[in-house]
Symmetry: C2
Subunit: 221 residues, 2 copies
Amino acid sequence: MARERKRIDTAAISPLTVNRLSIYLRSLRRLLEEGVLRISSERLARRFNLSSAQIRKDLAQFGEFGVRGVGYDVAELVERLSSLLGLDRTHRIAIVGMGNIGTAIARFPAFNSGSFLVVAGFDNDPERIGRRIGPVVVRSTGELVDAIRETGARIGVIAVPADAALWVFARLAEAGVRAVLNFAPIALSTTAECRVKNVDLRVHLEELAFFLERPEGGVGV
Amino acid sequence: MARERKRIDTAAISPLTVNRLSIYLRSLRRLLEEGVLRISSERLARRFNLSSAQIRKDLAQFGEFGVRGVGYDVAELVERLSSLLGLDRTHRIAIVGMGNIGTAIARFPAFNSGSFLVVAGFDNDPERIGRRIGPVVVRSTGELVDAIRETGARIGVIAVPADAALWVFARLAEAGVRAVLNFAPIALSTTAECRVKNVDLRVHLEELAFFLERPEGGVGV
């Protein structure tokens, strides 16, 4: 059955939707590995703890409709979502700050597979510069702008202390990085040139601690 | 000036509010270190990239009102928020999965300071069991339930592959853990016994990749 590829007004897609699409893609890839050829939204929802109504709604937004009683074609959906999410091309990642978090990210399989490739790591600690960590040899943060332009990295990971984060962010943007995953304990704002996702692990921990003594409520954070 | 401590209906506090309170606390602690005694909501907002109106609203909810023209007493606010967030007591953390992420978490200063203490680490890889990583000696995941009961850990960190996550979550809940930070690439749901915060790094990366080719919009994720 031929499907029309609906033209997408990407400015109208919310980050939450993109987040869900990414989760669907991962779940579908899993099914593909298991040899599953077709899946209904209900089965997908049950298997991966999702909402079947939301799945149908999200996919319909991109012109993907299941066949009644049969479901969706898994391989086709994987291809379509990969393309939609920009994952049919390689995205190069540069990590600034090669401490605990930076090192973990450099070695993390999810950041070094499929469409992602860690191509550079930076630090200002002489003990770390020159060491091989995961796929990179750590370079001095002083060389950041030039090195990133050389490697063509478009995604940056910031894993430096709060004091250094703003400066690093400015250098990354200057070097052509267009999207940043920020682990520094300070909020950075998305700019016209560079999109930011802040991940604040300490805050998550404190949120959990808050609810530890208070068993009321069952709302997931 | 004596303030009435407003009684708090904690079931009415949203996770987003708790998240902001945690950020205010960190910002205020910083000011305390710098010797700042009083601060207005506007100055706090400007300094730490927050919303002054939201600050006033959030603090008022807990009976904290600034003095017009003068602002808030920093030390008092730190004490009040620490108490509110349950951070005036020590919270013990157990980490399951001592790979890249688990190791980074075990060594992460923010997880081993103030009110937090990593007291146990588990893995099923014989190469890792018995090794010292950060403050713990890695134990076998088979001993998880007993070991956690011994250590009194109430917060768990899950850093295992997706396949193992549900089983680990069930064992943690069984052992008395009441809050979990989940890094496994599968969503876990908060239950009546145990609150969950899911942190999916791969999904964050894919969200960023989606927006790389599409410069429209300036909404932070």
